[in-house]
């Protein structure tokens, strides 16, 4: 900001900017918290079961000789 303004006006403006930045930061923190809350939940067994089954299938098909 190079334009000339009365000081108190500039002060008010930058205070408002700081305020807005603070609020955005606060929302950012919340957003991450919301996301991490799910990330930190224990993974339901179902997921690993499904993956294990898929893996078993994969290794079964691998037993039979195949070209790839």
């Amino acid at each position: 900001m190079i334009e000339q303004r009365p000081t108190e006006d500039r002060g008010r403006q930058s205070a408002a900017l700081d305020e807005a930045r603070l609020r955005q930061q606060a929302i950012g923190v919340r957003l991450r918290q919301m996301f991490d809350e799910v990330v930190n939940e224990p993974v339901p067994d179902e997921f690993l079961d499904i993956l294990r089954r898929a893996d078993e299938q994969a290794s079964e098909t691998k037993q039979t000789p195949e070209k790839s």
């Binding site: 807005a20 603070l22 609020r23 955005q24 930061q25 606060a26 929302i27 950012g28 923190v29 919340r30 957003l31 991450r32 918290q33 919301m34 996301f35 991490d36 809350e37 799910v38 990330v39 930190n40 939940e41 993974v43 339901p44 179902e46 997921f47 690993l48 499904i50 993956l51 898929a54 893996d55 994969a58 290794s59 691998k62 195949e66 790839s68």
Partner: protein, 199 residues
């Protein structure tokens, strides 16, 4: 890892892939939750994406960003399902209001609930951009890859989303039981302050 190996179906590759995939499950669940709202539907989506990723493991290049890759799979899955369903946005919003939080923690700050509602009000493409960058820890470039759009598009979506969310929380574009929505912003600020002092 496995430098000079042919990209065949070597079991060790599968093992490495699986290990990495398992570590991503919590993140896939979290991303799915932000897309679906409903926790059960989100887990279905995350499971589908996980299986799709597993099935496509031979097309994945180990050493590249698996998180971004799986998120892309999940997102594509979500939108292809969504195309088949009707009035999803309506459901999204209702589900978001109803279920997004299954918070057992009585200490959990109210503001989280309000943030979720605010998010639910954003256009989906803004919401996902904001979540990927603001919560998922992706760079703009990665988010652009996941969403299949230009980096500049992601940047502008994120900044519009931020502004909109701020306005919603601050000015009370949403109203629940008539409470002044600026209260939501106040409590978000208070929580953020508390959180940042803990860190």
């Amino acid at each position: 890892m496995g430098t000079a190996q042919p990209r065949s179906v070597a079991t060790s590759d599968d093992e490495a892939f699986k290990k990495e995939l398992v570590q991503l499950i919590p993140h896939l669940r979290a991303f799915a939750r932000t897309l679906c709202g409903d926790a059960a539907a989100a887990d279905d989506l995350a499971q589908d994406a996980m299986l799709k990723a597993w099935d496509a493991r031979n097309s994945f290049q180990m050493g590249t960003n698996m998180k971004a890759w799986t998120f892309m799979i999940l997102r594509n899955q979500f939108y292809s399902e969504k195309r088949r369903s009707w009035r999803q946005s309506q459901l999204d919003q209702e589900a978001a209001e109803r279920t997004l939080v299954a918070v057992d923690d009585p200490e959990a700050p109210v503001a989280l609930d309000e943030l979720r509602q605010g998010l639910a009000m954003l256009p989906p493409e803004q919401r996902e951009a904001l979540i990927l960058v603001g919560a998922g820890g992706f760079a703009y470039e990665e988010a652009a890859e996941i969403c299949g759009c230009a980096v500049g598009t992601v940047k502008s979506r994120v900044s519009r989303a931020r502004r909109a969310l701020h306005a919603i929380l601050n000015e009370g574009a949403y109203d629940r039981d008539g409470a002044a929505a600026s209260e939501a912003m106040k409590s978000i600020l208070a929580d953020a302050e508390r959180l940042s002092t803990v860190r």
